[in-house]
Symmetry: C2
Subunit: 196 residues, 2 copies
């Protein structure tokens, strides 16, 4: 019988991140993480399939944030507005309380090529998911792929700035700025600032 202890998952995650930071991701075992908070390795594996998942769980919620934005946009919204809506919804998902964790997590990832690889796939997966949603809204090709890749690029740049040391602007503000840069790049007039 499995006794569910509230907060176990969060305690394991906090211990894991601390160990990843202090001694390195590779050098940390699932057993060590569990023992750190007085639990067994078996308990760890009831919460996470492996130690990598501590850093990459929540992929579904991450993608869903973008999709929710698209779903909520008006039926006749052109691709750029759908992308803006997706990015705005994602920016709301990454609230300021998440920033400290996101920074620490990124520090761990930056030290490990295999984790960087996985992160690269996450952004590629984001583009694929958004493109599919845009096609579902009647956007043709190559517009859907272009728009989805742009969404992924803008998100990647904005997120990278958001977690920079000393950065205090919200992800929504930074995303709006990067979107305007994208518009400026292609030579179009300055877009109205996205507002929630």
């Amino acid at each position: 019988m499995v006794r569910w202890e509230p907060g176990t998952r969060e305690r394991l995650q906090a211990a894991a991140i601390e160990l990843f930071v202090t001694q390195g991701f590779e050098q940390t075992t699932a057993a060590e993480i569990a023992h750190r908070v007085g639990l067994t390795e078996r308990t760890f594996f009831r919460h996470f399939s492996d130690k990598r998942e501590v850093l990459f769980h929540g992929q579904h919620e991450f993608l869903q944030a973008f999709l929710d934005g698209i779903d909520a946009a008006p039926a006749e919204a052109p691709p750029f507005e759908l992308v803006t809506a997706a990015l705005r919804s994602a920016a709301a998902f990454f609230s300021d309380e998440r920033r400290a964790h996101a920074r620490t997590r990124q520090g761990v990832i930056n030290h490990n090529p295999a984790l960087q690889e996985r992160e690269l796939h996450k952004l590629a997966g984001l583009a694929t998911t958004v493109a599919e949603a845009l096609r579902g809204r009647g956007v043709g090709e190559p517009a859907a792929t272009l728009a989805a890749e742009s969404a992924s690029t803008v998100f990647g740049i904005a997120f990278g700035r958001w977690i920079q040391a000393g950065e205090e602007r919200s992800l929504a503000d930074i995303t709006g700025e990067v979107l305007r840069e994208l518009v400026a790049f292609t030579g179009a007039a300055v877009a109205p600032a996205p507002r929630g």
Copy 2:
């Protein structure tokens, strides 16, 4: 003493691609490729570091094609013009004589996740290289990264269309079309979006 036989590299490459197509990339060994054209495994390794390199050699020339376009652009060219110049130069590099080989190569890559991974890295490396060249031309951030990622996306989409079965337009024509779609995508931002 190494006797250099003209065309050896090309013969090895043709044999390799044929074996990759008929029996699969994983199932093909360097020795097999070499024997196919009456050569030894040792000769194979004088031309390619491994069988994967048959598919990925020429990465330097590939990147250089983009950089040449940027180098040739006027000093005051804005980022979009630099990207257009880079893509036009790359399109000239992929002349129509290369199309059949590009199609076959892609077929091999599509059947193997590790090769797809490597291809994904190639496009990521393209974005990194172009971003660096743009910064070298005085383009700031995030404009340089946005422009470089857009270049990589447009190239990826255009190249994918160029090698589709039955496609006969040149890569330059397709690239121009995808670039216009990119402008249209962000240009839609100019139109005042209906807001409730």
